[in-house]
């Protein structure tokens, strides 16, 4: 079944709950089946499926709660410590995959989803733009802020 595992993985990252992720994936396929006539042949099928899943998530109870978190701009106010060792170098040295997973899970949904689409799904900026319904320029700036926020979260975790 095309995209099933990837969609489930993405859904679980968004909801942080197995049961909600299953409901979300099921609803995504039901909506895709119902609305397939709206899909234009030759356009990006993967982006279309991810868009359905994400929009379904945003209208769900946990999705609307997640999107009501503090404004993303606030992330920019926080500064990374100026040290020789970067969060990356310390992290890589310690190889703490679980710490990175926890840091990703703590990010606000807009940052988490864009990092997953870019670095895990390896979508182009245009595909991400189609999936999230935002301009390509916003994709670039949001990705940059998401990566900065992840570095900040990791550097805080490494200090504990």
């Amino acid at each position: 079944m095309p995209l099933f595992s990837q969609l489930y993985n993405f859904a679980h990252w968004l909801t942080q709950d197995r049961s909600e992720a299953e409901d979300l994936v099921q609803e995504t396929y039901v909506k895709a089946l119902r609305g397939f006539s709206g899909f234009q042949q030759g356009t990006n099928f993967r982006a279309w499926m991810y868009r359905i899943l994400r929009n379904t998530f945003l209208t769900s109870r946990s999705g609307s709660k997640a999107s009501a978190t503090r404004p993303l701009e606030e992330e920019d106010q926080e500064q990374l410590p100026a040290t020789e060792e970067t969060p990356e170098s310390i992290f890589i040295a310690s190889s703490q995959k679980e710490m990175l997973q926890n840091a990703l899970a703590e990010l606000p949904v807009p940052f988490r989803e864009i990092l997953l689409l870019c670095d895990f799904e390896e979508m182009s900026y245009q595909e991400i733009s189609d999936t999230l319904g935002i301009p390509a320029g916003t994709v670039m700036s949001r990705l940059s802020r998401a990566r900065r926020a992840l570095r900040l979260t990791l550097s805080k975790k490494l200090k504990v």
């Binding site: 099933f4 595992s5 990252w13 197995r18 396929y29 995959k97 990566r147 570095r151």
Partner: protein, 103 residues
Amino acid sequence: MADEFTSKLDAYLDGELAAADMKALDAHVRACPACAADVLGRVQMKRAIKSASQRYEPRSEFRAKIERRLKPRAGFPKDPLYFRLAGIAKHRIYVARWPPHLP
């Protein structure tokens, strides 16, 4: 480290810069140790995120449930997404093999 280049490093690594910018940044990274170290750190982080992101697998019971729902049911042969998705996959294979090999 040149700010002019730093701001473009993510797009550079994501393969999203125009050819001319890509060439200029390539040349800069080769000559600037600070940017080269920055690029290395970002590449490692991208790889780490990719590996860490594959975290959740669907349960086999759940997969079976969805497959049952998508397969054509007796008496309802029309409009199954299953066939349509299969159609897209076939179309993609056809496009990928274009031009066809002639005997």
